[in-house]
Amino acid sequence: MKYSNYTTQQFLEDPYFRQWVQNPDAELDTFWLAFQHDNPEKIHNLIHARELMWAIEGQVESDFPSQLQEDSTFELIRNELKTNKKIPFAIPIWVRWAVAASLILVTIWWVVWPLQSKKVMSYESLKESEKETLTEKINKTTGVLRINLADGSIVSLQPNSKVSFPTQFNNGEKREVFLSGEAFFEVTKNPNRPFVVYANELITKVIGTSFTIKAFPKDKEVTVNVKTGQVSVSVAKQATNPQTVSQRELEGIVLFPNQKAVLSRQDVRLVKSLVENPALIAIETPAHKPIRGSFEFDASPASSVFKAIELAYGVDIVFDETLFSTCEFTGNINDESLYEKLDIICKSIEAKYQILDAQIIISGKGCDL
């Protein structure tokens, strides 16, 4: 089987592989699933190739124009063919929006003010400094309050929470929202108008994705949890102490699905880790269909077990392949959560795991007797 010795680059160059990543169908899924099953040591090559393709796809599709632009331009084409007179398209500044939610990464942005002393930023103070008229929605009920924004985005507001946004939401270069409490955001894609959430001292910026932010006034922490897509979170610069803030916290951190960032308000430290209940995400097929029954092992080498978990949960596991090369694992851990799976495996190979910066680090002595 030619693929058994392929490098990541060779997979990339292979049309059959690319077709599977770009336009999977049943036949492709079957083939590549079987291949992964028979060649688990190749799984990481597949992941790398696929990740690069996805990154390229994200880059290209972030430049995609809106439906409005597509429709308007076609009207102009139709008109020109009818009248033989050409009217060029003038791209309007006021509104460009596409409703398809998509996964886009944006670069870091934060408020730049001259640094003086640390300042605790609150929902109320942020609202006050906003020039535009704001509309506020407060959830005084015990259930979740769904708020539809004028751009098609949806905010699911938890009890005891409130959110404010400019009444004229479709004006301006950015879509800005202020949050006190907890909410789940589903943001429509618009590369030209980034969606920015101000929650205490944390600024979350996205183009289109879904995520939860938790920022109650009395909380000592502000949390961002990513469900789909990618967000970048950074600390408002005026909230930081120039002596202790790290470059990375200022530049911001990018979060992927199943990752979260916790900002400790007093220390102003932004820590990235995994969410409490990491969910199975894109697994062996790029169509993101979870495959049940893929965690049954019979004397499988530790490296394949870890790679299977990486692939299933989209997490990074760092371990010394040589050290654990003689470790094997037997067991069925299909029904366990990610952390339970790790517990069971580590116990069996006499190792420990720790979460560091959203990576899972495995340490131990190996299995040589």
Binding site: T7, T8, Q9, L12, E13, P15, R18, Q22, N23, H44, N45, I47, H48, E51, L52, M53, A55, I56, E57, G58, Q59, V60, E61, D63, F64, P65, Q69, E70, T73, F74, L76, I77, E80, L81, K86, P88, F89, A90, I91, L105, Q230, V254, F256, D316, V318, L356, Q359, I361
Partner: protein, 202 residues
């Protein structure tokens, strides 16, 4: 990759346009507008100019439908035609020289030996969140070559034509880009381990 809404293959659409089928013409437009716009922006960063060129392109396609050639690859035809239209409308000062042709072919890598590639492979751990940043750091022509190859699925001969370079240069661009990405990944891994060990000693 956007999933296409209809089952009609590009070539069938193309045939229908040639015989004057209007829905096919609109279908062709809608299938490729976004991709063409995104591609046009990489040729020149001027949204109105790009949009204008696309408008011109489709007006011409319809007006001259009877004499359209038998396109081997419709997407390739559209993209290379768009590129030509954009270049025609650029003012002389906007026209960049074909910079990447000037790069000495000696400075671009020849293909790595199989042994080299396998070794690099074992050390690589692409950090997914970094890939986006790395892609942006690549020289524009390398970035473009990656897009044309791994997103648009063009053959190297087609990439060479779109970028107006030799086919071997196109292969070298992709090779070099992947090499840079590998090196970035390796250095990140090294740094990662360093931090990890210093935490342990803590």
């Amino acid at each position: 990759m956007k999933k296409l809404l209809t089952n009609i293959e590009d070539n069938e659409l193309w045939q229908l346009v040639k015989v004057g089928n209007e829905p096919a013409f609109e279908g062709l437009y809608r299938r490729y507008f976004q991709v063409l716009f995104s591609y046009g922006l990489r040729v020149v960063k001027d949204e109105e100019l790009v949009n204008d060129a696309i408008q011109d392109l489709f007006v011409d396609i319809w007006r001259m439908r009877k004499s359209l050639s038998q396109a081997q690859s419709v997407k390739f035809y559209l993209m290379s035609s768009l590129r030509r239209k954009i270049y025609k409308s650029l003012k002389p000062e906007q026209l960049k020289g074909e910079e990447w042709e000037k790069v000495s072919e000696l400075s671009l890598p020849t293909s790595a030996s199989p042994e080299e590639m396998v070794t690099a492979e074992e050390e690589v751990k692409f950090q997914s969140e970094k890939i986006n940043l790395w892609l942006q750091q690549l020289p524009p022509r390398q970035n473009e070559a990656l897009v044309l190859r791994f997103y648009h699925n063009f053959e190297y001969a087609e990439i060479a034509d779109l970028l107006q370079i030799k086919e071997q240069t196109a292969r070298n661009l992709v090779q070099k880009a992947l090499q840079i990405l590998r090196n970035l990944a390796i250095s990140l891994l090294f740094n990662g381990f360093f931090n990890f060990f210093s935490e342990l000693e803590g």
